[in-house]
């Protein structure tokens, strides 16, 4: 940028030499434009040291004015406050428009940004209806060229009907031409034929009606057509002005028109945007394919309605695979570690009472062990989710999944945590926190336990062959499909009748892609893992102790335990759906951890080990009961870890609702399956 005295003096000296002796009129020019568009550069360039800085009357907004000589004429240049529009939203906007209307400068220069043409033309659309001729300075042409935007200033000039001067004010390019155009306009005003934006066509008649109602009362020097537009826009300052200028009866008539056409603001703004669209379509060319940035090139695939889904499936598959492949050996290592610790503790506890040994080994270590084995899954999950989010990909994933999710009243952002539920429901529930909408988040949390996790699938993988032999694969596949169908139906029902009422429309700004920040990811993993351990761990351990206590006391074996007593109380219910009390107890025990159901069955049937359980079960339980048990197991109340996560993320109310919901759904569907299966030969 150059506004050095030497440049100014060169311009002014050249012009002074051309000064005719008879022209003493001072031409007033107002400089309008958005902030940071280059007004100050132009102002300083022209006025140099002949500036006066003060405040606008009665305001704390700075006012700058200066004088210079150009083409033999004296000019007074007024730098209006930078504004994006001329509404009454800020004092700067009111100052700018009031100055133009009341002071009537000879010309208004609208300085606009060529690199952001459409947006900066909005101010031009508001300036054109004002009673001062306009010259447009199309600044930052160099920036527009760098972004491969082609703007034909001549075409734009012909379209808008006002002089358009391309400039790079920072390099003193086009500034002289700008004021040449101003000079020309001042001395040949008849050549000025602007293309002024109009209100949307369906409102033109009512606009005329409004103008007729107010024209005799509009205070000078306000133009009545501009006032009518501002009334339609709901401009607070103008509305007050007119209300005070009209009689009560006149105002009632005007107010009636405005109330009847309460979409007037939309009609006015719409007219402006349509005008902007027409102007830019003829004068501007967007970049060609080869010059599009990296983000847009990636989005043509990653955000594509078809390719985007394919990429998402691959990304999610990799996420799923990494989470459980990387975490699985760590889990096994941790389980072995816990097993060894159990062995050491068992040795140390030799000679102590049985209940104490069982409390520490089965209760505390068993409960704490459950928590510890979650950690590898959660760490990998949080890290991968953090990477996907930080790179900007997560926004695209949510975007492409939306059209499938919205059928259930959910959106793309719900798919990510639900998909992770296939590994473990805990991250599915915790992951729902990425969803901004409260209703969608609660719905996701309610549905997450219906996603068949690996623990449930492990139970199915063990029990299905025991019950169904070669039919196990079909049964297993059917169980998973059933889970997803129930999930989808439940989602539709809950959304429609319980969590309904929210408009499901979102506009998002896809962020630019960028490399993930290691520190951000590390902090995310650390913070989320620590938060989970601190809160959920206490609940998991306490609940495991309760389950242990019920299965141990009063100490005469599991068949005589309180847990067995509870199972027998539930037996009448179980008989309705084909489950004996042992299966009911195993179902209850699965609340601690789904795999517990297998161990519990092993204890209850006295097999001493899982390897004999399969043959015992096959001889003891009918196929209909077995199928019912597996169906209920898939849909039943989730494990304590998931319940703890629900409590952490949604509070007690939603936890109890979730418990009740899943209990009812699982028993109901199980009952239907038993009734149907019993009819089969």
């Amino acid at each position: 940028m150059s506004s050095s005295p030497s440049v100014l003096n060169e311009i002014q000296a050249e012009q002074v030499a051309k000064l005719p002796s008879h022209d003493h009129r001072v031409i007033t020019v107002a400089l309008a434009g958005q902030p940071n568009v280059g007004k100050t550069t132009v102002f300083n360039m022209m006025t140099g040291l002949n500036q006066h800085v003060g405040n606008w009357p009665g305001k704390t907004v700075e006012r700058k004015e200066g004088t210079f000589t150009f083409n033999g004429n004296r000019y007074r240049l007024v730098d209006l406050p930078g504004t994006y529009s001329l509404s009454a939203n800020s004092p700067e906007e009111v100052i700018a428009r009031d100055y133009i209307i009341t002071e009537r400068p000879d010309v208004v220069i609208a300085l606009i940004n060529a690199a952001s043409l459409e947006r900066t033309l909005y101010l031009v659309a508001e300036l054109l209806p004002l009673p001062a001729p306009l010259v447009i300075g199309l600044n930052m042409i160099d920036v527009a060229q760098q972004e491969h935007l082609e703007i034909d200033a001549h075409v734009l000039e012909a379209a808008i009907g006002v002089p358009v001067v391309p400039m790079v004010a920072a390099r003193n390019q086009g500034v002289r031409e700008l004021f040449e155009a101003v000079d020309e306009l001042v001395h040949h005003p008849a050549a000025y034929h602007p293309n002024v934006p109009e209100i949307r066509a369906d409102h033109r008649e009512v606009l005329s009606e409004l103008e007729n109602l107010i024209k005799d009362a509009v205070p000078s020097p306000y133009p009545h057509d501009w006032i009518a537009l501002k009334l339609f826009e709901g401009d607070a300052v103008i509305t007050k002005l007119i209300q005070e200028s009209l009689s009560p009866e006149q105002w009632e008539a005007v107010h009636g028109v405005l109330v009847e056409h309460d979409d007037g603001m939309m009609a006015v703004a719409s007219g402006r945007y349509d005008w902007i669209g027409r102007m830019t379509r003829v004068a501007m060319r967007h970049p060609s394919m080869g010059q599009i940035g990296l983000t847009e090139r990636l989005d043509r695939v990653l955000a594509h309605p078809i390719w985007g889904i394919g990429v998402l499936l691959i990304v999610l598959g990799l996420t799923f695979w990494l989470t459980y492949t990387v975490a699985a050996p760590l889990q096994v290592w941790l389980e072995n570690l816990i097993g060894e610790l159990s062995g050491v503790l068992s040795t140390l506890l030799t000679g102590t009472p049985d209940w104490l040994q069982s409390l520490i080994l089965d209760g505390i270590l068993g409960g704490a062990g459950t928590v510890i084995t979650f950690i590898p899954i959660l760490i990998i999950f949080f890290a991968l989710m953090g990477i996907l989010e930080d790179t900007g990909y997560m926004a695209r994933a949510a975007f492409v999944m939306d059209r499938f999710m919205h059928l259930m009243g959910l959106h793309g952002r719900s798919f990510i945590p639900l998909f992770l539920g296939f590994g473990c429901n805990v991250p599915a529930v915790v992951g729902a926190r990425v969803i901004d909408s409260y209703n969608a988040r609660m719905l996701t949390i309610m549905l997450a336990p219906l996603v068949p996790c690996t623990a449930r699938m492990a139970v199915i993988a063990f029990l299905a062959p025991a019950f169904f032999g070669r039919g196990a694969a079909l049964v297993s596949w059917g169980l998973i499909v059933l889970s997803l169908v129930v999930l989808a139906v439940a989602g539709v029902v809950i959304n429609r009748w319980i969590l309904s009422g929210e408009r499901v429309a979102f506009i998002m700004e896809l962020p630019l892609y960028h490399l993930p920040n290691k520190r951000t990811i590390a902090l995310t993993v650390w913070g989320n893992t620590r938060s989970f351990l601190a809160k959920a761990a206490t609940v998991i351990v306490m609940a495991s102790l309760v389950i242990w206590g019920l299965s141990y006391f009063p100490g005469r074996g599991i068949e005589n335990s309180y847990l067995a007593g509870i199972g027998r109380v539930l037996e009448p219910v179980g008989q309705l759906i084909g489950l004996n009390w042992q299966l009911m107890v195993a179902l209850l025990a699965s609340i601690a951890a789904k795999e517990n159901s297998i161990a519990t069955l092993g204890i209850l049937y006295g097999t001493g080990g899982e390897e004999n359980l399969a043959s015992v079960l096959a001889n003891t339980i009918t196929a209909a009961s077995a199928l019912t048990y597996l169906v209920i197991q898939m849909l039943f109340v989730p494990c304590i870890g998931t319940l703890a996560a629900v409590k952490q993320e949604a509070g007690w109310k939603w936890t109890f609702l979730n418990l009740a919901f899943l209990f009812v759904v699982s028993i109901s569907v199980g009952g239907l399956v038993y009734a149907g299966a019993s009819l089969l030969p």
Binding site: E118, F506, I507, L523
Partner: protein, 82 residues
């Protein structure tokens, strides 16, 4: 153009500013400007991108990657003009 944008939003689902810009054959800049106008008219509102009450209790909410949500707008309850 403004009505077309609002109608497109009211169709439901997630729309990206980039896709809306391509569909309406305008720049993303102008879409951003029109969204501000629709907000001013009361048809849409910007969703707060700070953590909800649950994340507010999280120790590292400020650095959590899960909360670095993209700017989101949603429709309000105001009756649409079509």
């Amino acid at each position: 153009m403004l009505e077309r944008l609002l109608k497109r939003i009211a169709d439901g689902g997630i729309q990206s500013q980039a896709h809306l810009a391509r569909e309406l054959n305008v720049s993303e800049d102008l879409i951003a400007q029109m969204l501000l106008d629709l907000e001013r008219m009361g048809y849409i509102r910007r969703l707060e991108d700070s953590c909800d009450s649950h994340c507010a209790h999280c120790d590292l909410a400020s650095s959590c990657a899960g909360r670095e949500s993209v700017p989101l707008w949603t429709l309000t309850d105001k009756k649409l003009p079509f």
